[in-house]
Symmetry: C2
Amino acid sequence: MGEHTVTSFDEDLEQIDRLIRDMGDLAGAMTHDATRALLKSDNALAQRVISDDTIMDAKQRDLDEKAITLIGKRQPMAQDLRAVVGGIRMASDLERIGDLAKNIAKRVGAVGDSATPRSLTHSIDAMAQMVIVQVNSVVERYVERQPDALTKLRDEDEKIDIHYTSVFRELLTYMMEDPRNITACTHLLFCAKNLERIGDHVTNIAENAYYVLTGEQLPVQRPKLDETQMTMSAQ
Amino acid sequence: MGEHTVTSFDEDLEQIDRLIRDMGDLAGAMTHDATRALLKSDNALAQRVISDDTIMDAKQRDLDEKAITLIGKRQPMAQDLRAVVGGIRMASDLERIGDLAKNIAKRVGAVGDSATPRSLTHSIDAMAQMVIVQVNSVVERYVERQPDALTKLRDEDEKIDIHYTSVFRELLTYMMEDPRNITACTHLLFCAKNLERIGDHVTNIAENAYYVLTGEQLPVQRPKLDETQMTMSAQ
């Protein structure tokens, strides 16, 4: 096969889209499994998430290579170039989601099955559910070409941030109540932070997907809310 | 100016290298300033880091556009393509370093000038100094085309990880000693984690730079050490 391949540009693009969908499915599954492993102290499931991350990395390298080759081969302009570059960027955010899920999985052993209060388990679980819905939806909305749904989805991230801030407060409270909770709670704090950051990557993906589909930027985002604005005094 | 521009491919590449160097300088300065702002409770300096991040983001967009245009225009092969794609990847890691420095800066207010024990300030400062040296060196070694120095530099990251684990333990101890320390210490914990993650991005940059310069992958990295392996019992 020489320079003139039989595949069309659209077929090449579809291949990239398929990889994005695969990576999106895997990112959703990893986030789900990592949270379940954490809340059920399931070390075997945690191990699976850790090995899934290798698959995620390989898929990203595959997509990157295909995209770069495509740009070199086809020299796409305007919208086509936007789609390929957008694909590279979305893949990079999906890969980061995989990393964050893996990091949650790696903390399963350190948290252990020490008595995590039921209300805290419930809060983290609720936050995780919101995040998982977002991860699964964003790629779905992109491949189904629904830019308006992406705007709505991006705005949903605020709810995750509010939820995260409340989990953060709750964790501080448990640490203050009993120093024996501190080690486990700091690991849970990082896990909650990772979930919040997965939400941020979904926002990036929504922005890139919107740009690919419409050629326009999503309206400027609300100022980011996070726990750094908290001046909760514990003194 | 039509399709045939007067710049050579090498000049285009140099432009990208110059942007990487700029971004590297800024990443080092932001990491330095964010740490100083944190340890001196300097809110004005923290604000500067936060606004520097906008400059960093703009530089990354600039580099991305130049690189993508270059690939489309020149259709580079093999080593040249590697250099352009490597440039995009290094820029993405430098931009993430900027984000992490900004996040440290955003925590300055929440930590406040509450009595951080001197030994803790010292530990965080020592860790930050190691990280800043790494950030400044990695781009320097790349632009000076010193692949062997990059191998050594990548291996230095282990020292940062060991230092981070010890800061992590120290912070847990302060939280356990006095619940009034918990809020400030959790923010410091995130700051220390951010420094450790900046080190990870330096590792990524070293790996990409090595690949660009030699066409080969750096030998497989040691297994990552972090606080998730700790089973420090606080019960």
